[in-house]
């Protein structure tokens, strides 16, 4: 179903660069701010496949994920000057934008579904995200295919539900049937452990 691109994910045990001072994404974005088309192409070749994977984790729909990817790169080109290096790395800026746009798209489709339902004209739509899937089934896939697999399962599950589905911590507590304080501890400890494993500027 999915065309696999670059191999060698962390889940496979490959090494991930953790040099917090190197920011090739940021360097390319600064060149794009000057209208450098080659830098734009390089950024697409470096990050397009990763961003598509992130969008797909959120949207669960290939067509919508590719649409979001195209929007992101249009935004990168047109409004490149909105990137500010002192606010974080280019990689963090891109992945945050990607995840937010994907989540916004899920909500827009869900809102449209709700309106359709209210109006009594709800119809099956071939491009709807599969929002009816079991949350936990999705999370299991997210955990298995990413660096989250190296975390304790409880911590990885909480972070996956927050990161890929943007569930609030109280929503996570409800779905997992655990106290809210437990979810907060899992998020905090899991993020701390993830940072120790993957690195991160700061």
């Amino acid at each position: 179903m999915q065309e696999m691109g670059r191999s060698g994910s962390a889940a496979d045990g490959a090494q991930i660069p953790v040099d917090g001072s190197a920011d090739p994404c940021g360097d390319l974005l600064l060149r794009i701010q000057q209208g450098d088309e080659r830098a734009f192409e390089q950024l697409y070749h470096d990050q397009g496949s990763i961003l598509l994977a992130t969008a797909l984790r959120v949207l669960r729909n290939r067509s919508l994920a590719e649409e979001v990817l195209q929007e992101i790169f249009t935004e990168v080109w047109i409004n490149a000057k909105s990137y500010r290096p002192n606010a974080g790395s280019g990689r963090a800026w891109l992945t945050t934008m990607c995840r937010r746009r994907a989540i916004d798209r899920v909500r827009a489709v869900q809102a449209q579904q709700n309106r359709d339902f209210t109006q009594g004209v709800k119809q099956a739509h071939e491009h709807e995200p599969d929002v009816q899937d079991s949350v936990l089934t999705q999370v299991e896939a997210d955990r298995a295919r990413t660096a989250l697999q190296r975390l304790p399962e409880e911590q990885a599950t909480a972070i996956a539900m927050a990161y890929y589905q943007e569930l609030s911590h109280s929503e996570i507590a409800t779905r997992l049937d655990v106290p809210l304080g437990t979810v907060k501890s899992r998020i905090r400890d899991g993020m701390r452990r993830l940072r120790a494993q993957l690195g991160g500027a700061g």
């Binding site: 065309e3 991930i16 649409e67 909105s82 790395s89 937010r100 746009r101 827009a108 993957l198 700061g202």
Partner: protein
């Protein structure tokens, strides 16, 4: 960093804190450089988490469309937003999106959950009052009149905020700024009030200011000035449901009408 602050920093990077915690974390991020570094560090980690996933090659159609973007679109000049969603051609495999998806403003708004935001704003007011009282205790030799004036100002602020919190039509919106950062708006059309919280917006030079505008069919109407670095509570605004809220960068002192393109736009 203690456990509570570490949790807030991690949750802010994830973007999934409850609204009261979110406001607390945003305040810390704006005022405490070490906390801001912690948030940035967790954000970098999440970027690396994304990179750990199996990459998925985009379809040839999408790749061609993306690589054609520089030939099809001009870059926006400094501080000039462009409606990206309106200029993005439909991908070859894209579905017919609902109309509302094709009409999103460039500064995409993100709804907030009002119920918990009420408590968050109330907490902010209590923090403000506490700060004033703490200041009063620390500076016992300060002139009593000044303390009373400060308390009066804080009490008036608390009353105004309470009015906003109690409004039946209280709503929340978040908009990204083209110059970087974002702006959270809490507003009530019935109370004619608007509360602004800037996040990570750039500091302006001394000869510049940010000016707020309410835009209707007749055009923009000035709603006051803001620094872009502190919260603002605006009252007695001539708002209605169909207006758009905008922010422009203007010469110090403000302008009669906008002299530059908006850096923030949000539909009310």
């Amino acid at each position: 960093m203690n456990a509570d602050r570490e949790y807030l920093a991690a949750g802010l990077a994830l973007g999934t804190l409850a609204d009261a915690e979110m406001l607390q974390a945003l305040d810390l991020e704006a005022t405490d450089p070490s906390f801001a570094e912690e948030v940035q560090s967790f954000s970098e980690t999440l970027g690396l988490l994304a990179e750990s996933d199996d990459a998925i090659a985009p379809s040839p159609e999408t790749e061609a469309a993306i690589l054609a973007i520089p030939r099809l679109h001009q870059q926006a000049p400094d501080s000039a937003p462009e409606d990206v969603s309106a200029t993005v051609p439909a991908p070859a495999s894209a579905p017919d999106a609902p109309q509302e998806q094709r009409e999103r403003p460039a500064a995409a708004s993100r709804s907030r959950r009002p119920a918990t935001m009420l408590f968050a704003l109330a907490a902010s007011t209590l923090l403000l009052l506490s700060a004033v009282l703490a200041g009063a205790l620390i500076n016992q030799q300060q002139d009593t009149t000044e303390i009373q004036e400060s308390l009066t100002v804080a009490e008036a602020e608390r009353e105004r905020t309470q009015r906003l919190l109690s409004a039946s039509d209280l709503a929340f919106t978040e908009a990204e700024a083209t110059v970087g950062g974002r702006l959270t708006l809490a507003y009530s059309v019935s109370e004619q009030m608007l509360h602004l919280t800037p996040h990570d917006m750039p500091e302006l030079s001394e000869d510049q200011t940010m000016q707020l505008w309410l835009i209707d069919e007749e055009g923009p109407h000035s709603a006051g000035l803001m620094t872009g670095t502190s919260t603002e509570l605006l009252t007695d605004l001539p708002m209605d449901q169909d207006m758009t809220f905008g922010v422009t960068v203007e010469p110090a002192g403000g302008s009669e009408a906008p002299t530059s393109d908006p850096v923030v736009l949000a539909d009310l």
